[in-house]
């Protein structure tokens, strides 16, 4: 087996198949022609031709996040690789497993400023979890298998393999995945039991506990989400989650407080502020979540579960750090909890829930319901009703619509929600939706979008049309870069510098030009009608232009530099004291 000689390009195809890849997102070019030739001569591996390499990576992210598998990308040298950089960093920030293959000029030309040459490993070093330049065809198979192992193990992330064109042509030996063992990379998956025992004792004695969970639970797989749900239900504690963690615990359960952080719910943020025990499972104390660090949950003991040791004590000092896979940790926690027959202090818990219910009664997601103009929140509420009980996946772009989607669309299962959290990449949602749709051809996939974000990668409609991916591009069109406009209103004296979406296309005609279905709603009454029509389209993409209130702002909001208990609820809260001077510099 290992004596078999193949060309580098054939080795690549074989390695991808052996790694379980069924779809690869890519764009051809001079430095990857041998790989495209090998792709042409087989039928197992489906290649999806994107219209821009950034979108190839986002599509692979959508595929990876909706399936739990590694997403795979193929780009050419030079501009192919540099175009992919934003996607790679996006995947790094959100810990999404991606293997990106890039072509490179032939080995003897490297360093000569050859045509379409870029120092791809140099450029992508800080944008990937790891990268490789393969100069010997005989190490190609091993390197590819290592790349998949590194991408999916520990804290997942993007791995790039740069392959010079002469290596793709050269003959070499193939080795199967089973024979490849990594020399150095062995992330700690199993937690220390002593730490778990300490954590269980602390949890059992909590008076005002809260679970704060994140993308780590999603990355640990659906079983981890089940264990989390079981543990949270067993304790009876309240639970909130980051933007990345939505869906790990069912939003329809009464213990769910909604998302926390800058645009999180009042009850989630106040529960974090006033808790005495915080159980962080797979979240990283991101600045969107903590707000002002010195006033972040000042009175609590903190447990932090993370597979990445560098996440622990990075922003917030914790009392019980636990390094391990969220699933493995939850399994041990639940087992020890049951073995020790733990039961929380019911009286204290009742009092705590009483307090939380008081905060809930504030109804922080309320907005001005009106018949005169479509409120974006209303459009999402109607979308929510229409999707209820249907097999669906949601992606988003970045901005106000993204936060409204997080607030108004409930997720009862993991891997259903895909959004650019860490990097905040406008243009993420459409390609990610295509990736998710190709992985789940029969499901409904909606890209909740803004008109500005949509324009950033709208060339991908072509991809969706070509592969008959019936994605729904649900544009909340407020004719502004809404989040920029909101910050300008609150922090820069309503000077709307460059945030107005001038010269917008007619989105319905645009859809028709691509052979898609285009729909528009300009009145409240039309919202339900267009959603119904949109859901009836199953053979092509659909662009839905919803003319929403241009001046609507996203609330609640904790302005930069403020603490969790300093929340703005709506337009009546004075924006003048929104942000202290030192908070202005924060993004």
């Amino acid at each position: 087996m290992s004596e078999q000689k193949l060309t580098g390009a054939q080795i690549i195809i074989k390695a991808l198949k052996d790694q379980g890849v069924d779809i690869i997102f890519g764009y051809p070019g001079g430095a990857v022609l041998p790989i495209y030739d090998a792709l042409f001569q087989q039928n197992d591996l489906k290649h999806v031709l994107v219209r821009h390499e950034q979108a190839a990576v986002h599509a692979a992210e959508g595929y990876a996040r909706s399936t739990g598998k590694v997403g795979c990308v193929l780009v050419t040298s030079g501009p192919g690789a540099t175009n992919a950089v934003t996607g790679l960093l996006d995947a790094l920030c959100d810990s999404i497993p991606i293997v990106c293959l890039s072509g490179q000029v032939p080995t003897h030309l490297i360093g000569n400023d050859a045509f379409q040459e870029a120092d791809t490993t140099g450029i992508t070093r800080p944008c990937t979890k790891h990268n490789y330049l393969v100069k010997d065809v005989n190490s190609l198979a091993r390197t590819l298998h290592e790349a998949f192992y590194v991408a999916r193990s520990g804290r997942p992330g993007p791995v790039l393999v740069d392959i010079p064109k002469d290596v793709q042509f050269a003959d070499g030996a193939y080795v199967p995945p089973a024979e490849v063992k990594h020399k150095t990379y062995r992330p700690q998956v199993k937690p220390e039991i002593a730490r778990i025992e300490e954590a269980v004792e602390l949890i059992a004695n909590a008076k005002r506990p809260v679970f704060y969970t994140g993308g780590g639970v999603i990355n640990a797989g659906p079983f981890a989400a089940q264990l989390l749900t079981q543990f949270v239900k067993t304790t009876g504690f309240p639970i909130t989650s980051t933007l990345m963690g939505l869906g790990a615990f069912p939003a329809s359960e009464s213990q769910w407080l909604g998302m926390l952080g800058m645009h999180g719910t009042y009850e989630a943020n106040l529960a974090m502020y006033e808790c005495d025990v915080m159980i962080n499972i797979g979240a990283r104390f991101d600045d969107r979540v903590t707000g002002k660090l010195s006033e972040f949950s000042p009175g609590s003991k903190k447990i932090h579960v993370d597979i990445d040791p560098s996440s622990i004590n990075k922003n917030v000092a914790v009392d019980i750090p636990i390094v391990g896979d969220c699933g493995a940790v939850l399994e041990d926690m639940l087992r020890i909890w049951k073995a020790r027959a733990k039961r929380p202090d019911q009286a204290a818990l009742k009092q705590w829930w009483g307090k939380i219910d008081g905060w809930r009664a504030r109804n922080c997601l309320n907005y001005n319901r009106t018949e005169s103009v479509i409120k974006p929140q209303y459009a999402l509420e109607r979308l929510r009703e229409a999707l209820r009980g249907k097999d669906h996946y949601i992606t988003t772009e970045v901005g106000q619509h993204q936060m409204w989607a997080a607030q108004f669309l409930p997720f009862d299962q993991p891997n259903r929600w895909m959004t650019s959290g860490g990097l905040g990449t406008m243009g993420y949602g459409l390609p990610a939706a295509i990736g998710a749709q190709l992985a789940h051809p029969d499901a409904i996939v909606v890209d909740v979008s803004g008109e500005a974000s949509f324009l950033m990668n709208m060339q991908e409609i072509g991809t969706a049309v070509q592969y008959r991916a019936p994605v729904k591009i649900f544009i909340l069109n407020n004719q502004y870069m809404g989040m920029v406009r909101q910050w300008q209103e609150l922090l820069h004296g309503s000077r709307y510098s460059q945030s107005y979406s001038e010269a917008l296309p007619d989105f319905v005609k645009l859809a028709e030009a691509w052979g898609c279905v285009g729909l528009r709603a300009t009145t409240v009454a039309e919202v339900d009608q267009v959603i119904e029509k949109m859901l009836a389209v199953t053979d092509r993409p659909c662009i839905i232009d919803i003319a929403v209130d241009p001046k609507e702002n996203c609330f609640p909001m904790i302005p930069g530099g403020k603490a969790h208990n300093e929340i703005l609820f709506g337009p009546d809260d004075s924006p003048s004291d929104a942000t202290p001077e030192d908070g202005m510099v924060l993004v």
């Binding site: 590194v150 020399k183 150095t184 004590n313």
Partner: protein, 169 residues
């Protein structure tokens, strides 16, 4: 313990000797804004292609711990040891110093070199190149003296270090 006190730590990192590994380490420090006071690297195991990086850095306790965790998660890193935390270690630096002069200054330079146990590795009628091995402090002291006696060029390796006792890395 003062959490905001700046501590200086010597950290040894065993890595695969592969292209780009030093760039990963340096990129981590520049990208995250950590200090590098000195950094040395050379292959120490030819058969297994292992290199040892010794770096001296400073920061608060939280930053030092973060630096070690960040180094540990780099894929080609085998082990990270904080020699400052893990107990007594020997630290040495090697310096080459070119001192130019004639007459009394030249004689004084040679005398001081003898006191510091620096070796003369090159001599002309008007210059010496001294080689000195010692702690950073000893090298600093010697450099300070030579500066007054015609020092025109200095080259220092930065710190290499090893824990005391039988335990090996």
């Amino acid at each position: 313990m003062d959490l905001n006190a700046i501590e200086k730590h010597t950290i040894a990192v065993l890595v695969d000797n592969e292209p780009g590994v030093l760039a990963r380490v340096i990129g981590l420090f520049s990208g995250r804004g950590y200090n590098i006071e000195s950094l040395t690297v050379a292959e120490v195991n030819n058969a297994d292609h292992l290199s040892r990086i010794t770096l001296v850095t400073s920061g608060t306790r939280m930053i030092i711990e973060q630096i070690k965790a960040q180094l540990g998660r780099l894929v080609p890193v085998h082990r990270v040891h904080d020699l400052t935390d893990e107990g007594p270690a020997v630290e040495r630096e090697l310096a080459l110093l070119k001192v130019v002069g004639t007459g009394d200054k030249r004689i004084e330079a040679l005398r001081l070199a003898d006191i510091f146990k620096a070796k003369v590795v090159d001599a002309t009628l008007t210059s010496f190149v001294f080689e000195l091995t010692g702690t950073t402090q000893q090298v600093d002291d010697f450099v300070g003296l030579m500066a007054q006696l015609g020092l025109v060029e200095a080259s220092r390796t930065g710190v290499v270090a090893m824990s005391k006792g039988p335990a090996a890395f």
